[in-house]
Symmetry: D2
Subunit: 380 residues, 4 copies
Amino acid sequence: MVGGGKDAFIGAVHRIAANMDGLIELACGALSINPEIAKQSGKELFLPEDRTYLTYDEMITKEKALPADKRMDFVTIVTPNFAHFAPAMMALENGFHVVIEKPITLTIEEAKQLKQKVDETGLTLCLTHTYSGYPMVKQAKAMIKDGALGKIRKVWVEYPQGWLSKLSEREGNAQAAWRTDPKKSGKSGAMGDIGTHSWQLAEYVTGLKITHLCADLNILVDGRALDDDGNVLLKFDNGAAGVLMASQVAAGEENALKIRVYGEKGGIEWAQHEPNTLIVKWLDAPAQILRAGSGYTDRLSKYATQNCRTPGGHPEGYLEAFGNIYRNFALTLGTKIDGTEPTPEILDFPRVEDGIRGMGFINTVVASSASSEKWTKFEE
Amino acid sequence: MVGGGKDAFIGAVHRIAANMDGLIELACGALSINPEIAKQSGKELFLPEDRTYLTYDEMITKEKALPADKRMDFVTIVTPNFAHFAPAMMALENGFHVVIEKPITLTIEEAKQLKQKVDETGLTLCLTHTYSGYPMVKQAKAMIKDGALGKIRKVWVEYPQGWLSKLSEREGNAQAAWRTDPKKSGKSGAMGDIGTHSWQLAEYVTGLKITHLCADLNILVDGRALDDDGNVLLKFDNGAAGVLMASQVAAGEENALKIRVYGEKGGIEWAQHEPNTLIVKWLDAPAQILRAGSGYTDRLSKYATQNCRTPGGHPEGYLEAFGNIYRNFALTLGTKIDGTEPTPEILDFPRVEDGIRGMGFINTVVASSASSEKWTKFEE
Amino acid sequence: MVGGGKDAFIGAVHRIAANMDGLIELACGALSINPEIAKQSGKELFLPEDRTYLTYDEMITKEKALPADKRMDFVTIVTPNFAHFAPAMMALENGFHVVIEKPITLTIEEAKQLKQKVDETGLTLCLTHTYSGYPMVKQAKAMIKDGALGKIRKVWVEYPQGWLSKLSEREGNAQAAWRTDPKKSGKSGAMGDIGTHSWQLAEYVTGLKITHLCADLNILVDGRALDDDGNVLLKFDNGAAGVLMASQVAAGEENALKIRVYGEKGGIEWAQHEPNTLIVKWLDAPAQILRAGSGYTDRLSKYATQNCRTPGGHPEGYLEAFGNIYRNFALTLGTKIDGTEPTPEILDFPRVEDGIRGMGFINTVVASSASSEKWTKFEE
Amino acid sequence: MVGGGKDAFIGAVHRIAANMDGLIELACGALSINPEIAKQSGKELFLPEDRTYLTYDEMITKEKALPADKRMDFVTIVTPNFAHFAPAMMALENGFHVVIEKPITLTIEEAKQLKQKVDETGLTLCLTHTYSGYPMVKQAKAMIKDGALGKIRKVWVEYPQGWLSKLSEREGNAQAAWRTDPKKSGKSGAMGDIGTHSWQLAEYVTGLKITHLCADLNILVDGRALDDDGNVLLKFDNGAAGVLMASQVAAGEENALKIRVYGEKGGIEWAQHEPNTLIVKWLDAPAQILRAGSGYTDRLSKYATQNCRTPGGHPEGYLEAFGNIYRNFALTLGTKIDGTEPTPEILDFPRVEDGIRGMGFINTVVASSASSEKWTKFEE
């Protein structure tokens, strides 16, 4: 693991998610650029001292020098955005698979370089767009793919948060500081951080691609350097219309990601605050409440049922969704080792192509927001 | 009453709303342009035969000829949009107050003529933007006005319906037929019908005015003549950003009008499907559930408490919200008769100015949707 | 109307409910035992002075003396429980139909006398168990009757309120004073007031009869004279088990009446706080959300569809449920006048038999609570 | 681990919960009484062959023979109820701490023997009453302990499931087979399985003890050997009244455990289907929505905040609640090793005393159900 030392947020989440199914074990780490924190964090995580490294360079070099059955199998990168590319590229160059927090890199060019290296090496790069790991998100995708809703006409996706309602980056909040700093976070703030999740969810669930968009990015807290709010009109490749909203100044909101998709015959609604429920609405019949883990497995897609750990009514959450990405990634690596063929359900996790498209999304919304033209073409 | 014969939808709603509080009684009607339906409808509503008229012209002329204490006090117009202006103008010219279904007229010019007549005569014109009659909508408005949320930054309003998911106007659905016909409905379909409600709710609750917008109106059902879906980016006069969505092809949705407003200190959320609840979210404290009719009247605005009929937990709904508009209108007329001064709470119902601004909204979204410019100025 | 003067609660509710559909008009009243309040209340309700009576005796006597087409058609009694019987009996004896607030009388013997008089006269006595007027309650009843859930096994009904959490009867709360006074309210407080509603809902929805029960009535606020809380185990005539809970000291609750019924194939859940929704749960399939007023009328019972006034998504509430009882009662009277046959849907309102059984419920729970035996037979 | 081989339900849950925080690692197992399944399960869980044992006897004996730093630290027992006692006793006798699935044993006598052994050895026995591991359950407990609700008056706890709505034990369902078999499950079915969870939650949250109860246990599916449904009236040691309901034939329900507690000043409501929310209702003020992981940590108890892994809005669920029990157990063992003092928050997990009281609950409800007396004293 690169990054994720004491007090970092997402590193701990990655560790829990990876631990969960007993398939993955933390083997070593370059957990902080601060040597003291790196050492202390390694100790707290029960890492051996000789595998608690001070830099990713040291980690990759020394691990590669270990015998094949002793060295780490893959590298997880949980540093701020600007520090994704270099360790990812070095890991790939040295034969290690990679897991990266989204957005994949600081620029789309970096993302494309990673893709080229992935293509060259045949290694796997997994991008942790967590929300597509939820079983009922996968259920929605499967139903739409199977035509249950008919042609899709309308997509609404929203992600309101409230945690940047104050100028917290000036009040000692480290998370806020890097996420609102263009040098560390990239061209966009809210859209780069949570707009990308919303975009990915919309394309993942519908199977459609955005072709044009019209973005209004805003800085609603005075003194901030990057957008903390954004609203985007969308056009999809099948003619569907859509709206994407992402805000970090929706005071009082937590992580209220929600998607609604409507087709000719009905619609679906999924919200991450109650992730085990998928509401399916029908044009001429009562709405249905589909529940993760339910006994009526014949009504649920294998994409949903294979990504649950408990029976219905024992709620699973964010960590399990995250765990599904790690599990599917690990099972995929397992098939490489075994020489078997992974099932489509196992292969269903985001990867380098999604990273490139996510960078394209950021570039396009930023360009659109700066433009007086209504519609801007989605460019990857 | 003009219009609202058998099988019309909104006429019956107006009658229930007007009846509810025992302040208003249906005195006469020109209930249909079809003489048979007009007569039969009058009979079913227990109208005397001699006050069951065949045209609004006949009704206004003959009622005016009655002694002052026998004639009707005001005229309610519940015909399709294109047939609002003429009876309204004639009623005002003959000294009758007027209640009109929204949108007020077919064109903004007609609306302005009505305003001029209202100003000349001192009569009252009430526009039934029902949703602003809900007590918890009024509570939200009062809290925002009192600064509870701080400066407003973000407004989201949405109104998904699904009832036009098929080309019902070709399948004998009379409601669908006139609402999708530009000659009867006006320049816009979904935006004219329910987008205007959303717009009114947004400006009513926040006390802000939209200055610019960027609209994407769509016809998502092939063969339809007017927009059945629309998404609009909004700019408000205090710098707040917003989104307005209205769709009649959100298959499986009923009348899922919902508004969320966020300010520096917190946010509010109100949905018409559970209208007695107002959720108030706070930046640094637990969210609160405010309930209509609750015992903690000291925590509620008089605008809310005076528009409830039952104690908390006995749900009131759409008809009561509608009834609040009629009641406040009737109480206002009462003060004119008594020569007293109405309270601000009683005066709190939509009127001709809202009608003009609503027509401005329709004009602006239609113009914006046709434009390749991102932002269009809101013109009244 | 007998009772229901200024500041009384339920009288105003009755008037709105009766007004709503334009079928019933308040003709006269004996609105208070206090002559000043009676007169003032009559004035505020636009009653003619000569039909604003000071006692029910005067009202019934004088109205009877009027010509048949001028006199009132029926009497509504909304006084405290102890003052139900005398005016009801006098009304029936004088040929007037009757509407009574529940519980029907102070004792079961009085209720039986009323039934005898009803049987003798052929008049109609309507008892306002409001909750069985909700369309989705009727839908639940119809589905269970039609066997949709299979044999019923389990019934849970609960009615928590919090308004008696303090000793309000000693703090000048008039509602609290009479409802906690055995002389005015009867043998039971919470069980008589809201336990009876719960009992009626359970038997109405399931079509089953309670045969035995085991009651635990409690006075949880020191100094109170009647039970303010009760929990009852139930046995039904088909072998089903049940629980009924009613409390007026559930601090913070409004009128959270809720019923759940489970059968071999599935269950239903209905809550008065969101009365337009009926959740139907299935053993081997996703739960469904049935909504009042929905377009899928082929999936709904006529008992539900004929008791709605608005399309789905325009919420109806308590007043409309109350209005349904009045409307069905009025339509039934109408058929008597017309000499036609009322439909089963129109006849579906509570009457004197329900009143007797309700008194039996009160008697049985009070006896059971005093007994050390586990089960007490339900006696009417 | 004893039990929990392939296809067992709760064993996998224990492993995920134990893995989650990186504090515990599966070291060895006697995973099935079927040698083939035991071996295959060990292989799938990456256990070394020489620590994949065929019986708990072999496991405990051989592990004890290993050097202290190589042997397992504790034993987790996830077998059916009848097979809890023997391995637990043997583990304690050999110096191993123990984790047991509830109910602790088949009889209360066995439970008392375990307690005696725990007292003798000073070892820790942890009982996995999962639901008390949820952070918002702990928050409710802390608030009630701190007097936020005033004196507690009323407790309602319910646990409806539907999975035994058919006679599944005769249709090859292994879970159903042992849970409905008195020899394997004990004196009670539904009450032993989920009634005990409900009882524990009620006493845990309120800090009160049940003194008397009145139980009605039912077999609602013909042919079943143990109760599949039960309703219990409760009396608490402070005079509060209560109801406990547990059913496995509530067709269509999942694991809808819910608790409501009302005191003089307000009430709390928590439901496991949305476990990150605690609704706090107030007598004279709007209800509040407390959320796990929220930023307003000053409003939340340390018992809640220390049992969360993610910020508010990233839902945690059943596995995390289970993980909290394991984490607190592991941290407690850690303090024994370190010679430090565990905090009260860390010590907050169920143990042998809860097991004895749980067996007392089962005994008392079974005795009460068989009795014609209304009230039966709670005996441990």
